[in-house]
Subunit: 242 residues, 2 copies
């Protein structure tokens, strides 16, 4: 009961006193509708602006710098404005993570669909997984390292489930099987867990810099991509002819 976020369920206060707030001219100027120079209605699409500001702050200052007040500063609004749209910091971080999962999922699907051979689909998806994390380390941190994620939020729940479902499809494709929705044999479950663990573990270790010791000992600066490829090819039960 301590965590009741209002978030658009505005508490109408008693109000009605004097003391005029400062003039409207003093407020930050950039309050216009997204890509539409006119009609600066109430205060613009602040929710979207805050999410974009949050992503900028994240990639600039890292996960530790992603605070409610920093995001508000970046967006040019008062420090309490984000509370109205996201309830609390957990809410903002969760919505940001949901965006990350959607981008993530799209990247994996695009990579998988670009391949024709079923076995290659899985490999391509896995590579896209790692590539996304390398390109957006801040987002990856929000999605997998942040302690403030509320998976009961539908947006986050759905986006996160969709991303892992995509990876599971890749496994099914590479084994020429359909993954059933209800029952699951142990070896099927093991195959899914193996694919998830391999890709997710590799990414986590790579971003934590724990693979640099290995990469440095490889011939002439082999890239992480090559190591990933070798790791995955050795992991499939029947190695592809290519």
């Amino acid at each position: 009961m301590a965590k009741t976020s209002r978030e658009n369920k505005v508490v109408r206060t008693v109000a009605r006193t004097r003391k005029p707030a400062r003039a409207a001219a003093e407020r930050p100027a950039v309050r216009r509708r997204k890509s539409s120079g006119d009609t600066p209605y109430h205060h613009g699409d602040l929710r979207e602006a805050l999410l974009q500001a949050a992503e900028r702050v994240l990639e600039r200052d890292g996960l530790a710098g992603l605070t409610l007040r920093a995001v508000a500063r970046e967006a040019g609004v008062s420090h309490a404005a984000p509370t109205h749209h996201f309830g609390d910091l957990t809410g903002l971080v969760s919505e940001l993570a949901a965006i990350g999962f959607r981008m993530f999922n799209e990247a994996m699907n695009a990579a998988g669909n670009s391949e024709t051979l079923p076995i290659m689909k899985g490999l391509a998806s896995a590579k896209a997984y790692v590539a996304y994390a390398q390109a957006h380390p801040g987002m990856y941190g929000v999605m997998f390292r942040s302690a403030r994620l509320d998976y009961s939020r539908p947006s986050l729940h759905e986006a996160s489930d969709a991303a892992f479902a995509g990876l599971t499809r890749g496994v099914g494709a590479s084994r020429h099987e359909q993954i059933p929705q209800d029952g699951l044999a142990l070896d099927q479950a093991a195959a899914i867990a193996r694919a998830w663990s391999l890709v997710h573990g590799f990414t986590t270790l790579l971003l934590d810099g724990r693979l640099t010791g290995i990469l440095e000992r490889l011939p002439e600066g082999t890239s992480a991509d090559k190591l990933l490829d070798a790791m995955l090819r050795g992991a499939v039960p029947r190695p592809p002819g290519a």
Copy 2:
């Protein structure tokens, strides 16, 4: 230059005024040497007491509850006392993580040494890895999820390296090979990365609750241990006869 921790390099102040501090009797009482009822010298082994307090706070309140002030409260000292022994929060968390890595490493080695077959050594170590994380989720969080770790600290650096070296040895044993210290072939590196990624990824996913969807669909509440075993057995190039 903003992060110069003093940490035992005490800044001698000018000092010397009046205003007596409160009586010694008001202070917390438990200030005696570890397992030695007498000789309560200056204020006891506070450094050790703080680390133990930190572990208690961690397992009780989670990573988010692990603050300098909470640890000081748990140990019954002033909120600024930990600073003297660890410099800052990063220092305390790093030392705690080092302890975690040492316990972690001991558990893996003990499990590996209990087996005679080389292939089994790797499996046993991997299971010990996951078992430790399940038994000490707070510690695992400090070691792998905390944003405040300073790997330039020798204690943390060494303990962390030792833990991963142990896992690498397990891989070498399971492949009947010696992992060379200098050069490394791509397939050797891939084998190490595969073992690390599998075990670490599985653990991360398990602790994040992302495997529950799979576990629930397995026959009659199969344990995570069974899934791990099946996953690992399917991953080794030459499956063991057992």
